[in-house]
Every structure is written in structure tokens, then in C-alpha cells.
């Protein structure tokens, strides 16, 4: 019995390992190819790099618009997240703690937005951005990202707040603290894990977004990393090394953040999944 169990454990491990290799291979292939020259990739795509070839990174970072695109991606992601954290937790708090018909209506109204695909409203959205003077710079995309996260964010915060007792808030209120103070000084710090989940999940979505920044950011100027990579695939169809360097620069920060904040990705998923 014991030996049989040992065998089945070993077989299970080998199957999982084989699948893990298959799953990891495309990412490994990408990271590896970024350090190979173009002829090297063409000659034998599966071979290891012969030398530590860095020219594609050099070319990408000195001869193209990629550095500006990196700056745009960073700025867009960080600013959107900052405003999300300033706006969404407050709304979730009011919806959960001030339970009235009108707040319940607002909640359902927000959740309904999660069903609307971006394509369903993107065309009039651009017209609207132009009217408001938000077209062609980062402020438009930031406003769109915040608005698009309201439903998911409120869902996340209200479900998390249910697990936090009200007693502390009530005693702070007796002591004459305003709601504003209670929220930012007492409640918000307790929401840390929830805020972390929102930041990593929405941050990932913004960092990786393609269609909206491509359409909204001004043409002729560098857009975001992902949009530039898309253009390069069309333009430099013969310079795979350079595109691999670009995709590597977009993947590595995400992998690093993920490895350190893994539990927040998972926690957010689990609570975000309740919406089904």
C-alpha cells in the first residue's frame, strides 16, 4: 500500500512537471529569444543564446520611441491606480455602511456596468472625450480606467467590509470624529489587503490594455508599451529580436510584482469571483 502510494505520488509529480514545462515554455522562449540576435532566432528558434546579446535592448531603448512608451505605461498605470484608491474605497464604504434604498440602487447600478463590454460604448466615448477636451492625452484614459473599475472595486470593498466590525467606528463617532476622519484614519488602514488586491488586479489590466490606449492616445506620438509592441509586429516584421526585447521589458516588471504580491492576486480573484 505504502509503495503503491509512493509510485502514484511520483507519477502525479511527473505529470504535473511535464505540464508545467509546457506552460512555462512560451514565456521562457520569449525571455531567451530577447538575448539572441535575429539571425540566431531564425536559424534555430529552440537553441539557447550563444552569447549574451544585448543589442536589441540597446536599439529599442536608444533608436525608437520605446522609452517614451514605457514612461506612458508607467504614468498611466500609476495615476489611474492612485485616483482609484482615492475614489473607489470611499464609495464602497458608504454603500456598505449606509444601507439605504438609494445606496442599494447605486450598488446595483455600478454592478450592471460590469456586463457592458467596452466595445459597446467605445465609439461614442471618443466623441465625448473630444467634446470634453480629454482626447489625445493621458487624462482621458485615466478617467476611463477609473470609471471602468467602479463596479469591480465596489464589489471588492463591500464584500471585504462585511467582515470588519462597526464597533470601532461607532466609538470613534461618539468621540466626535467626523465620518471623513473615521474613514481615512480608521477604516481605510484596515482595508489594506483589499486595496492591495484592487491595485494589483486593475494595475495589471491597465498595464496590459491595448485597444483603448491605441484608439485614444494621439497618433504619431509614442503610446503605451503594449500598443508600440503591436505596431512593431507590423512594422519590423523581420526584427523579432527587437520585439522580443520589448515584450520582455513589459513582462518582467509584472512577473516581479506577481512573485512578491501573489496572495493579493489570488484573494482578489476569489472575492471578485463572487459576482457570478
Amino acid at each position: 500500500m505504502d509503495r503503491r502510494r509512493k509510485w502514484s505520488n511520483a507519477i502525479l509529480f511527473l505529470i504535473t512537471l511535464a505540464l508545467a514545462v509546457v506552460f512555462f515554455f512560451p514565456i521562457f522562449f520569449n525571455l531567451m529569444s530577447a538575448f539572441k540576435s535575429n539571425p540566431e532566432i531564425m536559424r534555430d528558434a529552440v537553441a539557447f543564446p550563444k552569447t549574451f546579446y544585448l543589442e536589441s535592448f540597446e536599439y529599442l531603448l536608444t533608436e525608437t520611441d520605446f522609452p517614451a512608451a514605457i514612461a506612458n505605461s508607467l504614468l498611466l498605470t500609476l495615476l489611474s491606480i492612485l485616483f482609484m484608491v482615492l475614489i473607489i474605497p470611499m464609495a464602497g464604504y458608504a454603500i456598505e455602511r449606509h444601507d439605504r434604498p438609494w445606496t442599494r440602487f447605486v450598488f446595483v447600478f455600478y454592478l450592471a456596468g460590469m456586463m457592458i463590454p467596452f466595445q459597446a460604448y467605445m465609439i461614442p466615448l471618443f466623441k465625448e472625450l473630444k467634446m470634453l477636451g480629454l482626447f489625445g492625452n493621458l487624462s482621458g484614459p485615466i478617467a476611463i480606467y477609473i470609471s471602468g473599475s467602479v463596479g469591480f472595486g465596489c464589489l471588492l470593498y463591500t464584500s471585504f467590509l462585511k467582515g470588519i466590525p462597526r464597533e470601532i467606528e461607532e466609538s470613534a463617532e461618539m468621540d466626535g470624529c467626523t465620518r471623513y476622519g473615521i474613514f481615512w484614519r480608521i477604516v481605510f488602514p484596515l482595508l489594506g489587503p483589499c486595496t492591495a488586491s484592487m491595485i494589483v488586479l486593475q494595475g495589471l489590466g491597465i498595464w496590459n490594455d491595448f485597444l483603448m490606449p491605441m484608439l485614444v492616445l494621439p497618433s504619431g506620438e509614442p503610446k503605451t508599451m503594449i500598443v508600440e509592441i503591436f505596431y512593431y509586429v507590423g512594422e519590423f516584421s523581420s526584427r523579432w529580436d527587437m520585439i522580443f526585447a520589448g515584450t520582455t521589458l513589459s513582462i518582467v516588471p509584472v512577473l516581479i510584482v506577481f512573485v512578491f504580491l501573489q496572495k493579493y492576486f489570488v484573494k482578489g480573484l476569489a472575492s471578485g469571483a463572487i459576482k457570478g
Partner: protein
């Protein structure tokens, strides 16, 4: 003597409670207002304008927005190209919902039962979720490239050159390539949800089944799987919505081609609206897509909820 005194105090107390409630009301309004304004301005208003624009022949640039009644919807009803895109979208969606869930459950079972390196495996299976559709599409472009791609090179190395396939250029394989690479990208996401479901199943249930003589497969089929039904509802709804909206990988892997072999509804909306400058028609199609998502989700939730077992 004591009675009126207490009621005085109560009155004062209830007055202060009422005052606090009123204050809270205005604070709640203040807390909700910023998100409400943004949401109304950048989600609701454009969605409502979409409904209006779908009855016009607007090109997206000119100020000439002409009302043309149901002409756009009639065109959708009759257009071969739209029918083809609808067929492709439904095919991709059906294949993805089934495959993503099957692969995700398999991965979750493996990660849950494996003895060594469990966390590492979970991390690796989740990695593809972190990639953008564009990056993922590019990587698979190169892997599946006919002349220099990894897959065909590997086939050649093991002496199978004769079956080298033009994975993205051949209409018969382009769709399969898109579907399988998307399964690779998304399975890890659903795996995490299934893992959470598996971990909430008490171990004594499977043990009891084992004592009753159930083998591994029977334990899985009759104990584990029914208890995963809740996670399955969530995962299949999410994967259904995601698949109906598939866009990025198609943009970079096939551009809707070869021919129209992989053109989906989202892709046709984009093409019609931004390359062919028929945004009135584009919004009409976008509304159809929205309705499709709404109807399928409602049916799916109703059907799947019935299957769920309460513990």
C-alpha cells in the same frame, strides 16, 4: 420621579442619533459622488449614446448624423460577413468555455494533490494570465510561424517535416491555434478559483466515499465535481464573457484572417468603425454583442445554479 428623567435622556439621545444619521446621509452622498459622476459620464452616457447612434449612418468624423431607422439592424440580419463573425464568435466561445474549464479543473486537481513544489506549480500555471493578449499573441506567432517557428522546427527535429503545418495561415488551423493559445493564457486564472473551491471541500467526504469502496475516479466524479459546481458557475460565466469579447490575440495573430476565417464580432466592430468609418453600423453591432452577452449570461447562470449542491 425617575421616569420622566430617563425619557428626557432618551429624547436627547434619539435626537443626537437622528442628527448623526442625517450627517451620515450627507457624508455618504459625498463619498459616492465622485465615482458616480465618473461612472455616469464615461460608462452610462456613452452606452446610451450608442443606443442612439445605432439608428444613424454616422461615419465617426462628420457632424452629419442621419437617422436611418432600423437599416443597420436589417443589414446585420442579412450580412454574410456578420453571420460568419457570429458563427466564429460562438464557435470560439463554446470551445473556450469547455476547454478552459476542463484544463483548469485538471490543473487544480494536480496542484491540489501533488506532493512536492505545489506553490511553484501553481505560480507557473498562473504566469500566462499575467501577459497581455498582444504579447501572448506575438509569442505564439513566432512559435507557430510556418518557416522559422518553434513548433515546426521541433516537428522537423523528430523527423516529421512532412506534417509541418501553416498554423496561422491555413484557415483550417488558424481557429484552432487561436483557441489553444487562449486556453494556455487563461486556464491558470480559473485554476485558482477551482483551487479555492477544492480547498473548501472537507477531506472526510472523499475518505467516506473511499471507505464505501469508491475508486479515485468515482470519488472525483460523484463527490468532488458536484461540490465544485459553484466554482464552475463562476468560471464558466467569466470565461463565456471573456471569450465573447476576444480581441487582442486576434489582432496580432491573424488580423481576422486568413480571409475572414477568424473574424469575430468584436473584431468586426473595430474594423467597421475605425477602418471603414461606419461607426453607426459599428455601434449597432456593439449593441447586438451586448445583448448576446446579457442573454447568454442570464441563461447560463439559471441553468448552472440549478446544478449546485449546498453543503
Amino acid at each position: 420621579m425617575a421616569m420622566p428623567y430617563v425619557s428626557e435622556e432618551k429624547k436627547a439621545l434619539s435626537a443626537s442619533v437622528a442628527k448623526r444619521r442625517r450627517k451620515w446621509q450627507s457624508y455618504a452622498l459625498l463619498f459616492i459622488l465622485p465615482s458616480f459622476i465618473l461612472y455616469a459620464l464615461f460608462v452610462i452616457v456613452p452606452t446610451a449614446s450608442s443606443a442612439y447612434l445605432s439608428f444613424t449612418s454616422w461615419d465617426g468624423v462628420s457632424s452629419d448624423i442621419r437617422y436611418i431607422g432600423f437599416a443597420n439592424f436589417e443589414e446585420i440580419w442579412h450580412s454574410e460577413r456578420v453571420h460568419n463573425a457570429l458563427k466564429n464568435t460562438l464557435l470560439i466561445t463554446a470551445a473556450l468555455v469547455v476547454l478552459e474549464n476542463v484544463v483548469a479543473i485538471a490543473l487544480a486537481m494536480l496542484v491540489d494533490n501533488v506532493r512536492w513544489l505545489r506553490n511553484l506549480f501553481r505560480t507557473v500555471f498562473y504566469f500566462p494570465v499575467l501577459l497581455s493578449g498582444i504579447v501572448m499573441g506575438f509569442i505564439w506567432n513566432i512559435i507557430l510561424n510556418y518557416n522559422f517557428g518553434v513548433l515546426n522546427q521541433l516537428l522537423a527535429k523528430i523527423g516529421l517535416e512532412s506534417i509541418a503545418i501553416d498554423w496561422l495561415g491555413d484557415p483550417n488551423y488558424a481557429m484552432i491555434s487561436i483557441i489553444l493559445s487562449t486556453v494556455w493564457k487563461s486556464a491558470g486564472y480559473y485554476m485558482v478559483i477551482y483551487l479555492a473551491g477544492l480547498q473548501s471541500i472537507p477531506a472526510d467526504l472523499s475518505e467516506a466515499a473511499a471507505i464505501d469502496g469508491a475508486n479515485r475516479w468515482q470519488q472525483f466524479r460523484h463527490v468532488t465535481l458536484p461540490l465544485l459546481a459553484g466554482a464552475m458557475t463562476v468560471c464558466s460565466v467569466l470565461s463565456m464573457i471573456g471569450s465573447l469579447k476576444i480581441f487582442d490575440q486576434i489582432a496580432v495573430m491573424t488580423d481576422g484572417g486568413p480571409g475572414f476565417a477568424t473574424e469575430t464580432l468584436t473584431y468586426i466592430i473595430y474594423k467597421v468603425g475605425f477602418s471603414e468609418m461606419r461607426q453607426g453600423f459599428g455601434t449597432a453591432m456593439a449593441l447586438v454583442l451586448f445583448l448576446l452577452i446579457l442573454i447568454i449570461t442570464v441563461i447560463q447562470v439559471k441553468v448552472l445554479r440549478k446544478r449546485e449542491v449546498q453543503l
